[in-house]
Structure formats: structure tokens, C-alpha cells
């Protein structure tokens, strides 16, 4: 799980793994590791999720956390435009160090759509580059399950 601070990475994992959402914000320091067994149509996949501390300073990301990863979830807060820029910079850093690997870009907090700061045309531009982009909400669960399942399919393809 990669993205700036307070974009909802931990909440997305909690929603996916435990199907719950908490309004309280508790920042992640280091990494939190969870596991979820995902039943796909043709196989069972064990997803080990490394929820990394959000860093707006891209240089401070510990790349050692990403060693051995098969894919990643890139998370931005749709209400904070700056977090999309952080996410895009993180993707470049990951690709520079580990090469291209499957990822999904989640624009989180879609339940706050009236405060949205990222326009649809921009997201369409990402999709045309072949990215898998989706709006999500850890609060309502919108798009969460699909995002992880899709990533599970792609990392085991």
C-alpha cells in the first residue's frame, strides 16, 4: 500500500481484511502486515499486504519494504490534489528501483465527492495509459474489494 499520509491506506486494508471502518485516524509508522486469502474463480491466492507509512517526502520511503512485492496499491485522496502528485512520484520511484509491476491506482474517499479536487478527464488520461484506476471509499466499501481482487488476479497471472 503506497501513498501520501492520511489518504486512507490503513483504512482500505482494514475494510478489505476485516470489513470494518473506523473514523479515527491513526498514522502508520513503519509497516503493518496483514494477510487475506482471496478466492478467485480458478484458484486461491494468499495476499500478504504491507501497509507502508505514508510519506509525502518521496526520498524517505524505505525501499527495503518493497523487496519481494508482487504488486502494489497506489492510493491518493481524491479531495487532496497534492496526494495524487505524491502517488505518481511514488510510482516512478518504484518503477525505477524494481521495474514495472502490477498496480492499481485508487482515488480514495469517493464518499466526499462534493469536495473532489481531481477531474474525470485526468483519470481518463491515466486509463488510456493502460492503468487500472478506480474511485474507492474505505468508509462505504465502494471499489475496495474489486481493487484487491483485480490486483490478485494480475499478480498471479
Amino acid at each position: 500500500m503506497l501513498g501520501g499520509f492520511s489518504v486512507g491506506k490503513t483504512s482500505l486494508v482494514k475494510r478489505y481484511v476485516e470489513s470494518i471502518f473506523s473514523e479515527s485516524y491513526l498514522t502508520t509508522v513503519g509497516v503493518k502486515i496483514d494477510k487475506k486469502v482471496e478466492q478467485l474463480p480458478d484458484r486461491v491466492v494468499s495476499l500478504v499486504l504491507w501497509d507502508l507509512a505514508g510519506e509525502d517526502d518521496i526520498g524517505s520511503l524505505r525501499m527495503s519494504y518493497l523487496r519481494g512485492s508482487a504488486g502494489y496499491v497506489l492510493v491518493a485522496d481524491g479531495t487532496r490534489r497534492s496526494t495524487l502528485e505524491v502517488a505518481l512520484a511514488l510510482r516512478e520511484r518504484v518503477e525505477a528501483d524494481y521495474g514495472a509491476m502490477p498496480f492499481v491506482l485508487l482515488l480514495n474517499k469517493s464518499d466526499l465527492k462534493e469536495q473532489w479536487a481531481i477531474n474525470d478527464a485526468e483519470l481518463e488520461g491515466f486509463r488510456q495509459r493502460g492503468w487500472w484506476v478506480r474511485a474507492s471509499s474505505a468508509r462505504t466499501g465502494e471499489g475496495v474489494e474489486d481493487a484487491f481482487k483485480d490486483l490478485a488476479v494480475r499478480v498471479t497471472r
Binding site: 513503519g30 509497516v31 502486515i33 496483514d34 494468499s46 500478504v48 519481494g68 497534492s82
Partner: protein, 401 residues
Amino acid sequence: MEGLPASVAKRLQAVTYSERAVAYLQVDKNLALVSAGGDLQNYGLATVGVGKPVLDEVFFLQGLLPLLESPYYVPAVELAGGRVADLHLHSEGEWIWVMLLDVTTERDAARRVQQNAYKMTLLQEQEALLNRRLEAANAALLVSQRELQASREALFRAHEKLQRELTEAASYVRSLLPAPMVDPFAADWRFVPSAALGGDAFGYHWIDAEHFAMYLLDVCGHGVGSCLLSIAVLHLLQAGALRDVDFRDPSQLLAALNDTYQMKSNDDLYFTLWYGVYQPVSRRLDYGCAGHPPAVLVNPDAGAVQLLKAKGLPIGMMPGVRYPSETLTVPRQRYLYLLSDGAFEVEHADGTMMTFDEFLAMIVGPASSDSSDLDRLYQTLIANRGSGALEDDFSIVRFAL
């Protein structure tokens, strides 16, 4: 421990072991767990099975083993159960060693600091966002204010232009009104158009040497449209411009006007009219009325009034209407008032409407030929209303017969 006295090294080892809850895993090159020890329970690893694949027993090592770089360090890993460990991995010979050192306390302390810093940053971001929205709203407000101001100015100019035009129209109507006369009998009038300009007009003139026409009309509505129609009718009456119509016969004239000015072809405008023909020698008065307030014949000495009514719909409402005329021999020393509804449909200061009887009381009584009587009547109405102007045109014509 090289360079440290044996005692210090020993103590350091003891402190680290007790305070960091040190635990270890020994893994072979086939990634099978060879041995495990230390405070495994602290990390939820008390039941790991020796001899089994380590990645099945310790899922968070997936991706880290086999070890590609030695030593390898993964700081602050939160494990199931909430404990936080620094992971130190290194290989030696055919073994891979995984050491876990508890850093939960340090992580919690760091989290408190980090949390406050992030909250502060979020608040600053929100403040900046609110400021941008506020600035945008202010800018939009400023634009709206300017547009509103421009609209107001344009509206004010248009209103001023309209007022000028209405004033000019009122002046034109006034120029068409007859001059007061004194011989062979006195005729006087007051005309105070409303701010919105109504459709009042009146006149009197000799039809021939014996017949004297007197009339007052009121076109419905206000504004230039009503005014134009009143002017047209006034011209027609003054010029006697209706073919084959005897203007000495009120009944015939009103019917002809009704045929000429049907509201369907006059922008839905209709008008009321009181029209009389007076013969001074015989003192005979023939009159007709098209939905207009009655003329008032006043006996000033007796303080009595006679309302000169006649049946008839307003001109233009319906074709083919008949207007029966009435005849009266006017006694001597009488005042005849023609008036529009604006002269008596006046609201008191308390919001109630003045009655027609109240109005009659104002014009009955000893009167003189002094023209200031009509001014006093107007001033009384204004005083009753409690404001500086009447809502409708004020038109009144008085004949001393």
C-alpha cells in the same frame, strides 16, 4: 562487542535481551525452520513448527526469503497482535537467521509525534483550501457586485428615461385639455396624473351654437399604452370624427365608440366614459355613461347631491352594446362634477378605502366659484391618504350651471 569490556558487553546483552524481547528463527537453505527461540510468544510465534516451511509458519517473511542481501533490515514491522518489531536478517554459512527486536514503545512514541505533525499539516492544507475557496468566493462576489451595480445603473437610467417619457406624455395630455372658461358658464378642472401615468382624459366644447359637449374618460391600466388610447379618443371627440354619428346624442355616440374601440383590436384596453350634452338656453342635459362613475350634480345651498347615472358597459368590452341616455333639466345654481375613479378611490392612512359618500361630503356644501375649491379638495384627499401622491390619476371637472 569488540572493544567493549567483557562486563559491559555481558550487561548490554542482558539488557537487550530483556528489554527488546529478542527472538530468533533459524532457517535452512530450503527455507525450512530449523530452530526458533527467545521471546517468540511476544510476536505470536510461540507455536511455530520446527522442520516445517518457514513461509507457511511465519507469513510476514514472504517476499523477504530467500535472502538476496545480507545483512538485511526491515524496521518497525507491526505484526498480528499489535507488537512491533525490527527485523534483522542475515545469512551465515548454510543458515539464514531472523532476529526480532521489539520496538513497540519507540513506535508508539514516534507515532504520537508523527500524528501531531500530520494533523498540523492537514489543518494547514484545509486552511489553505478554505482560503482559496474564500478568495474565489470573494472574487465571484466582487464580480457579482459589479454586475449588480451595472444592472442597477442601467435600470436607473431606463427608469429615468421612462419617467421622462411618462412626464412628457402627461404634459402632452395636459396640452390637449381645454382651458377653463367663465362664459356663458364657468368650467374649471384639476388634472394630476399618477407617477405611472393613467389613462384619464376629459374635455368640453361647443358642438354647435346650442349644444355643449362635456366628457371624461378613463382608459384601464396605466402607462403609455393607456395614455395613447385616451389621447386618440380625446382627439376623436374633439374633432367629432365619427362618420354618420350625431355627437349631440350621447346614446348614439357611445354605441359608435364601442363599435370602434373593441378591446380585441386595442391591445385588450377598454375605457369608461361619461358623456353629456348641455343646452344652456333650455338647461337640458342629455347624458350617457359607459361604466364610468356617475357625474355629481350639487345643490350647494341645500347641501344636496344628485348622481347622474346611466346604464352601459365600458367601451370595448363587448360589441353591439346599447347605451340608453338620460335627460335632465338642470335647476339654477348647480355645480356639475365629472370625475374619474382616481378622485375618490383613495386609501386612508390606516389602509381602509374612502367611501364614495365620504367623497361626496367633501364636494357638497357652500361652494364658490373660487377655483381654489378644487385645490382644497385635492389637498384634502392627499391629507387623508397620508402620503404625497395618489395612486391613480386625479381628474375632476366642475361646471357652474
